[in-house]
């Protein structure tokens, strides 16, 4: 069976081609999706890649959230389709309220690009089944608006329900509350994180590690198991 993963391009999306490559490296079929097009082309899962959609003008993710394609994504996500938001994609997902909380400017006020160690806190979501609970992975992080915030009640709820999926290890690179790097919704099909798994799928490229590949193989596992 061929698993089809849609990759959305908004105006200003940067990592769409990288994400398509990562999907292919994992042995899945990448389907480009265009922001103006509501048609999701019968994909089995959707990735919202990183970048600066609409230049991050107004607020990161704030304008993309209203694009026609997002109407379909929101509907499908609520029906259980696996959706992954990476960096700017995560910001879009919080803007749609598919995921709670928001991202503020990094506490040191600079863009930061580094190899970031993460701990997998939940290996049961649609996008993390290829990992072990507690496993540490190293993938690139690159953003200026990466500081995850939410009110105490939401944070407590996320913790209590096991919905913190990734936590920063060694260094909290942006001041995110409770070292949160990524979260999921209640059903575990929608995941958002700031670091970039799609940049860590080939041994020679980027950090030289393939720790990010598990995101994309997880989706295969999830769909085959289902």
């Amino acid at each position: 069976m061929t698993v089809r993963v849609g990759v959305i391009t908004f105006p200003g999306t940067l990592d769409d081609r990288d994400t398509q490559r990562a999907v292919r490296v994992a042995g899945l079929e990448a389907v480009p999706l265009w922001h103006r097009d509501k048609d999701l082309k019968q994909v089995d899962a959707v990735v919202l890649p990183g970048g600066f959609s609409y230049g991050d003008y107004l607020r990161a993710g704030a304008i993309s959230r209203f694009s026609p394609v997002m109407e379909s994504v929101i509907g499908q996500a609520k029906a259980g389709m696996p959706v992954l938001g990476i960096c700017n994609g995560f910001q879009v997902l919080t803007e749609t309220h598919l995921l709670p909380g928001a991202m503020l400017r990094n506490n040191h006020l600079h863009f930061i690009c580094r190899d970031q160690k993460l701990r997998v806190e939940n290996a049961e979501t649609a996008w993390t089944r290829s990992y072990e609970q507690g496993q540490e992975i190293n993938i690139p992080l690159k953003n200026i608006d990466g500081r995850y915030v939410a009110d105490e009640r939401v944070l407590d709820e996320l913790e209590a329900e096991g919905r913190v999926v990734f936590r920063y290890r060694d260094v909290n690179p942006n001041g995110s509350l409770r070292d949160i790097a990524g979260i999921t919704n209640e059903a575990g099909n929608v995941v958002g994180l700031m670091p970039h798994p799609e940049h860590a799928v080939e041994p020679l490229i980027g950090t030289g590690r393939t720790d990010g590949l598990g995101f994309f193989t997880s989706i295969l596992k999830k769909l085959v198991d289902a």
Partner: protein
């Protein structure tokens, strides 16, 4: 105010015109009158003044730059040479690579963020205009003293501007330089390089041919920003007595540029353009006159159709505006509809503003009235050419006689240790990661090597692993001591860096940063540096494909050090064979390649320990550089070395420290017999590299060096968690890391 039409100009020959305020000299203004047979209109005067500025016309440098063509080495790889938006090089497998380095020095001092940001934007559009997808950027930067208060204003702004723009475009920033020297106080150098990749058949040129073809302006609206920006700013010396130049700096919108890139690439894919040019310095004046000059006919433009951000702009201002994120395309009439459709898809404004004619004139109209009627070549290519007087400055002899080799040297191993730590932690040798971590180096998913590696390397083809490597280098201190040798040392270092990564150097681009050409001493430095570079390129077989000259980098009568920055592009058949700098495997043997002499003129040690600049720079031996490069490339291809690092400022010890910190392993170093430990560790002789050789490959590697006649001395082994120089000193890696990495954040964070 009446519109200054051609008719009006003919009727009012004696009107006083502001040619001097626009930067023209009396004889230049007279020449315009002779060319036109009348006085120019206001619009024509605006066009000539920006196009004949130093920045656009190269009027002071042209006579020297000709050598790059005259002495160009035979090179089959060169597909497009000097004169286009950027040069293009064949890298094999049907791919072509275009690259160029440019300056945005003056705007970046006045308004660091926007100056640097639009520097990135401009060079990216140059690369795009050739038909290529931009795949990487690099930034050679130079600032005043690291601890000077104004550096804290300029540097963070420049870095944030480069990051803010480049990161938002999705271009990995894979290298460059950061250098501090008091000579750049008030005149920081912000150079920007872009690399683009295309297939041979996708090469596009800037020309307007085919009568009836439409001229389409697309991208951002034209505003009042940057009117006469590049041309005015970069063609004058800063002077406290004049009003502030801030209104002449352009403002960038990287989101618009990202849309422009994707839109243009889609237009290329559908083969919709007959000619294309980006709008940079001198804006529409430059684009229309250059396109028309390069084509077979003339051009007619309806200037009032240009979409404006500010409806009150005059035609002269529209012609001079340097608003960013604009391109100009020549499109056959039956392709216009599809062209506009693609622009609409990407939310890019596109407007037909004119057409190619079968005449020979560039004609521009404003609401039906003609305001420009000129032969385009006289604007774009037949500007003034100056034979500026030049003379070796009288202080040059004294400077060279002030021999750095005679400076007091460390007397004990403890003193040597202390001075080594001083060198590796000085701002120029310290880790620049606080700066480079503000740039995205991963985007596009093809980055194989990025700073602090010797070169930046990106994969071009996913199937075959074909890749390209680029390194930029320049050393103003060396060039001040001897501009001819200094330019060659910059070339040699960039060439060596590319080879150390395993790539074969193919071609160069240069950014020549100097003081005022009106000073004969500066002009001599320029003449010497260009001569050195042209001779060097001939010897190494690497042609100059294009670049940029930045003059007037001086405040009052104090010029910067002559600073030729050289970018070398290389190709590697399979990026899996690249050589990183890090010593990562214990037990690997360290070999020093090349000869070490006592050479401290212009060295990091002389600067750091003695605050001294004098003597002669290291000797240049380009045949040796070529041999070293061949060995490094062979060793990479055949898997004989696991790490390699070129030796440059800070000498051997700097390279060893960087490689150890990068790989996370220590090294035990043995000083060979017959050489002074201080010279061994800190001399900056050129033509050298240090490599890590697996024991299994030692024999083969030694034999290869021996057979080819390259000196190769075993100097130690990768081992432990300290850099230990036997009989001298040891420094734990943790202490080195602290010294090397804390400096820049300590000064700037």
């Amino acid at each position: 105010m009446t519109l200054d039409t051609i008719k009006h100009a003919e009727q009012t020959p004696d009107v006083q015109q502001p040619w001097a305020e626009l930067g023209l000299k009396q004889d230049e203004y007279e020449r315009i009158r002779t060319i036109l047979g009348r006085r120019p209109t206001g619009a024509e005067l605006a066009m000539y003044s920006v196009m004949w500025s130093e920045h656009c016309s190269y009027k002071s440098s042209k006579v020297h730059l000709r050598q790059f063509g005259e002495k160009a080495p035979e090179n089959d790889a060169l597909l497009v040479g000097i004169g286009e938006n950027a040069g293009v090089v064949d890298v094999g497998q049907g791919y072509a690579v275009t690259f160029k380095v440019e300056s945005h020095n003056h705007p970046s001092y006045i308004e660091p963020y926007q100056g640097a940001a639009t520097g990135v934007g401009g060079i990216v559009r140059d690369i795009l205009a050739m038909g290529a997808r931009p795949v990487a950027v690099m930034d050679p930067l130079r600032f005043g003293a690291a601890d000077h208060p104004d550096t804290k204003r300029v540097l963070p702004g420049v870095v944030a501007g480069i990051g803010g723009y480049g990161n938002c475009l999705g271009l990995p920033n894979i290298g460059g330089e950061v250098v501090f020297d008091p000579c750049y106080q008030g005149n920081p150098l912000v150079n920007a390089l872009c690399v683009g990749v295309m297939k041979h058949e996708d090469i596009h040129l800037a020309k307007a041919s085919g009568a009836g073809n439409k001229v389409i302006l697309y991208g951002a609206r034209t505003g009042g920003d940057g009117i006469g920006g590049v041309s005015v700013l970069a063609s004058e010396t800063f002077d406290d007595t004049k009003p502030t130049k801030r209104p002449a700096v352009q403002v960038g919108d990287p989101f618009q540029e990202k849309l422009l890139i994707e839109c243009t690439l889609e237009i290329f894919r559908e083969k919709l353009v007959a000619g294309i040019q980006d709008l940079g310095g001198a804006g529409l004046s430059c684009a229309t006159s250059e396109l028309a000059s390069a084509g077979s006919g003339g051009m007619r433009v309806e200037l009032d159709t240009v979409p404006l951000r500010d409806a009150s702009l005059s035609p002269e201002e529209i012609l001079m505006s340097e608003s960013q994120e604009r391109m100009c395309a020549i499109v056959e009439p039956d392709k216009v509809a599809r062209f506009l459709e693609i622009c609409e898809k990407w939310d890019v404004i596109a407007t037909v503003i004119g057409e190619v004619t079968d005449g020979e004139r560039l004609e521009i109209f404003w609401h039906g009235e003609q305001i420009v009627d000129v032969p385009p070549r006289t604007v774009a290519h037949e500007g003034p050419v100056y034979e500026r007087p030049y003379a070796r400055p009288e202080w040059q002899d004294a400077l060279q006689a002030d021999d750095a080799n005679k400076l007091p040297r460390p007397a004990t191993p403890a003193e040597l240790r202390e001075q080594v730590l001083k060198v590796v932690s000085a701002p120029n040798q310290a880790s620049k990661s606080w700066i480079t971590d503000q740039y995205d180096r991963f985007v596009q998913g093809n980055t194989v090597l990025a700073q602090p590696e010797d070169s930046g390397m990106v994969r071009v083809d996913e199937e075959t692993g074909l890749g390209v490597a680029v390194a930029t280098d320049g050393n103003g201190r060396y060039a001040k001591l001897d501009p001819y040798a200094g330019a060659q040392l910059a070339l040699a270092e960039a060439y060596r860096n590319v080879a150390a990564s395993g790539a074969k150097p193919l071609a160069i681009s240069d950014c020549l940063n100097f003081g005022s050409p009106e000073d004969p001493a500066v002009m001599w430095q320029f003449a010497e540096a260009t001569r050195g570079l042209a001779d060097g390129c001939l010897t190494l077989g690497t042609p100059v494909t294009g670049g940029n000259v930045s003059l007037y980098n001086q405040t009052g009568d104090v010029a910067i050090h002559p600073t030729p920055v050289v970018a070398v592009l290389g190709v590697i058949d399979d990026v899996a064979r690249r050589t990183p700098i890090g010593f990562a495997d214990e037990g690997h043997l360290l070999y020093l390649l090349g000869d070490t002499d006592e050479e401290f003129g212009g060295s990091a040690w002389s600067q750091t320990v003695h605050d001294h600049l004098g003597g002669l720079p290291p000797k240049v031996d380009l045949e040796r550089e070529r041999l070293l490069a061949e060995i490094l490339i062979s060793a990479s291809r055949d898997g004989m070395v696991d790490a390699a690092h070129d030796l440059s400022d800070g000498g051997l010890i700097q390279a060893v420290v960087e490689s150890c910190l990068r790989g996370g392993k220590g090294a035990r170093i043995v000083v060979p017999d017959g050489i002074d430990p201080f010279v061994f560790l800190l001399s900056e002789s050129a033509g050298r590299a240090v490599v890590a050789v697996p024991r299994s490959e030692e024999l083969r590697f030694k034999d290869m060096c021996g057979a080819r006649g390259l000196p190769a001395v075993r100097i130690g082994v990768v081992d432990g968690d300290a850099v230990d120089v036997q009989g001298q000193f040891g420094i734990p890696l943790a202490e080195l890391r602290e010294a090397h990495e804390a400096t820049i954040p300590g000064l700037l964070a």
